[in-house]
């Protein structure tokens, strides 16, 4: 049998598993909600999968390292490797995940040149959008689409989930349309993310990855904000796991 390499990305909200063949082609791609027992979820995902070596990334990487005797890599390096497999000329990555966000600048050769990451606060990440969607009674998957229907500019000042929720309540009781409020929230998230990107980005193609890259309104506003097209991988949540799989395959 040919060699197979796996990467597992244990994030705060979801776990992704990707298996590649010797040529780096994706042969398996799986996802599950992390839940409260990440190692049990990981074990279930791995059940029945065959591969020669595995590398773990994401916030649960060290738990996995101990439980499954795997090598590890940070999300930052894994994203750099994974993104380059889709977009070989990318020079910057914006990743907004469930509880953190990061901006990564790449060298021409694809090495991490510089990065920025949010601090302990999950403001402006996937979790923030999730709670705001709930507050406005949207399903998360349609939150972005609804925001795109907005016809009025509203400014949301708070990025803290608790403060933003009370700001949203004030706007609702003020009679504002919920699509407009949704739009205002999206603008606030993008403003923050674009500022983080600008701290590392010195021009060139930008890739947007992580779960929030599925949100069409965020993508649209991001392109508008930085004044150029932004590329999104077909499956933006798999980038970390793919990167880890490719890195372990590079090692061999």
């Amino acid at each position: 049998m040919n060699n197979r390499f796996a990467g597992i990305d244990i994030g705060s909200r979801t776990i992704e598993l990707v298996v590649v063949d010797e040529a780096g082609k994706i042969v398996r791609s799986l996802q599950a909600d992390t839940g409260y027992a990440p190692m049990r979820t990981a074990e279930k995902l791995l059940n029945g999968e065959s591969f020669d070596r595995i590398m773990a990334t994401g916030y649960g990487r060290n738990l996995f390292e101990v439980a499954f005797d795997a090598s590890t890599v940070t999300e930052i390096k894994a994203y750099a490797r994974g993104v380059r497999a889709f977009f070989p000329t990318a020079l910057a990555i914006l990743d907004i995940g469930g509880q953190d966000s990061k901006a990564i600048a790449l060298s021409d050769a694809g090495k991490v040149r510089k990065f920025e990451m949010n601090d302990r606060c999950a403001a402006g990440t996937g979790k923030f959008l999730e709670i705001m969607a709930q507050a406005l009674n949207y399903h998360l998957d349609s939150f972005g689409e609804a925001a795109l229907l907005s016809t009025k500019q509203l400014t949301i000042n708070s990025m803290c989930t608790v403060f933003a929720e009370s700001e949203v309540t004030t706007l609702i009781t003020g009679g504002e349309n919920r699509n407009d409020i949704a739009h205002g929230l999206h603008v606030a998230v993008v403003q923050r993310a674009a500022n983080m990107l600008r701290r590392v980005w010195t021009g060139g193609p930008v890739v947007f990855a992580g779960g929030v890259a599925r949100n069409t309104c965020i993508l649209h506003l991001l392109e508008e904000n930085i004044g150029q097209k932004v590329f999104v991988p077909e499956d933006p949540q798999m980038v970390g796991a793919l990167g880890a799989a490719l890195l372990v395959s590079d090692d061999v």
Binding site: V73, T74, K77, K114, F115, N118, D119
Partner: protein
């Protein structure tokens, strides 16, 4: 080799020496920042001691009086005073505090209710003759104040003797750091931290210097230790800069995740130990010059800090620079922008800026950031 127990032994020795000296009537003077010339205190027969400010336990108490978004170092200092949980502050007869940043000097106003405190009025620049003149006047005022408090008059000869001892101490600390200049670093940052620590009261400095020299001699053996070298050789060499690393969580994370802190540009480290007092001129003028030149971010402008960084990056063959700033420390947090530009553009080294406090709740995120930075250097 130089674990917590190493330091505890020295702390016990220092404590005994202090009790002996205190019994002969010596006063204990608590100090805060790096602008206070300890030579003056020692020349008045008193014992200088730096006060506790590195742990989070006392912070909740401090937040009853101080704003929550103030830097943890200031909150911790004040909290220890409120709770009476710092043995050094407890034993201090009075405090000599330098008016550095806004947070410190306003906190000192509150602290003065708990302990007799005198403030050193610090100019905000070292760049003008006027600021030097006023600082020299201020040191004369402090000299007279110390003489009144201790009943001992400070002579120029006595002051010069203390300048010499402190110069030897600073030079010895530099020698400890210099063990990391070669191709193979011989010390971890946490070890440097323990070996060069003042271990509390600054009394019997010759003994403390002797202990540092013993450590230096022992560390030299490592250059023949292949096991040690094997562990050390692939570690990226980090220069730590920024706020005083009073709390050790970031220092620990850097070394636990595969780096080695070869040098530290911060207070107590090479920012302060790297510079001696001129022993040939008028001792008061020499003291004033040396101390006003401290490259703290509370000074504006602060060009010396870049000069020091440049020198250390070359001397210690630094792979990457990590700047640690405490949340709420406006001066260092703003200056970080200038430092980052100098490090990446002038000195072409990767730079990571970490802003945090003393709590443990961001350890996961910090670990990822530090690990990713070390990956980038590998």
């Amino acid at each position: 080799m130089f674990e917590e127990t190493y330091l505890t032994r020295i702390e016990e020795r220092v404590f005994k020496d202090t009790i002996l000296q205190k019994e002969t009537g010596a006063k204990i003077v608590g100090v805060y920042c790096a602008f206070t010339p300890k030579e003056l205190i020692a020349a008045a027969g008193a014992i200088p001691v730096a006060l506790c400010s590195g742990t989070s336990q006392a912070i909740p108490a401090a937040e009853a009086h101080l704003p929550r978004n103030l830097c943890p170092l200031i909150k911790a200092s004040y909290g220890h005073a409120l709770n009476d949980t710092c043995p050094y502050l407890h034993m201090a007869d009075y405090l000599l505090a330098d008016a550095t940043c806004d947070g410190k000097k306003k906190m000192f106003e509150l602290l003065a209710d708990l302990k007799p405190l005198s403030l050193l009025q610090l100019p905000q620049t070292a760049e003008t003759p006027e600021s030097h003149a006023s600082w020299l006047q201020e040191l004369y005022r402090i000299r007279a104040l110390l003489e009144r408090r201790t009943g001992i008059s400070i002579t120029d000869a006595g002051l010069l003797a203390q300048i010499r001892i402190y110069n030897t101490l600073r030079a010895t600390i530099c020698e400890v750091f210099a063990l990391n200049c070669g191709e193979m670093p011989l010390l971890y940052g946490y070890e440097i931290d323990h070996i060069t620590s003042m271990a509390g009261f600054e009394c019997n400095l010759p003994a403390r210097i002797g202990e540092m020299r013993e450590a230096i001699a022992a560390v030299h053996q490592r250059s023949k230790d292949t096991l040690f070298q094997k562990k050390m050789q692939h570690r990226p060499r980090i220069l730590l800069t920024g706020c005083p690393s009073t709390n050790k969580k970031v220092l620990k994370l850097i070394e636990e995740n595969g780096g080695v802190i070869v040098a530290m540009e911060n207070c107590g480290g090479l920012k302060t130990a790297g510079f001696g007092v001129d022993e040939t001129g008028d001792p008061m003028e020499s003291l004033a010059k040396r101390y006003l030149d401290t490259a703290c971010a509370c000074m504006s402008p602060n060009p010396r800090r870049i000069d020091i960084l440049k020198k250390l990056i070359n001397e210690y063959r630094v792979d990457g620079v990590i700047e640690l700033t405490w949340e709420g420390c406006h001066t260092y947090n703003i200056e970080a922008f200038t430092i980052e530009r100098a490090i990446s553009e002038q000195f072409a080294r990767p730079y990571l800026h970490i802003t945090t406090d003393y709590s443990q709740n961001d350890t996961g995120q910090l670990k990822t950031r530090i690990e990713a930075f070390l990956e980038l250097l590998a």
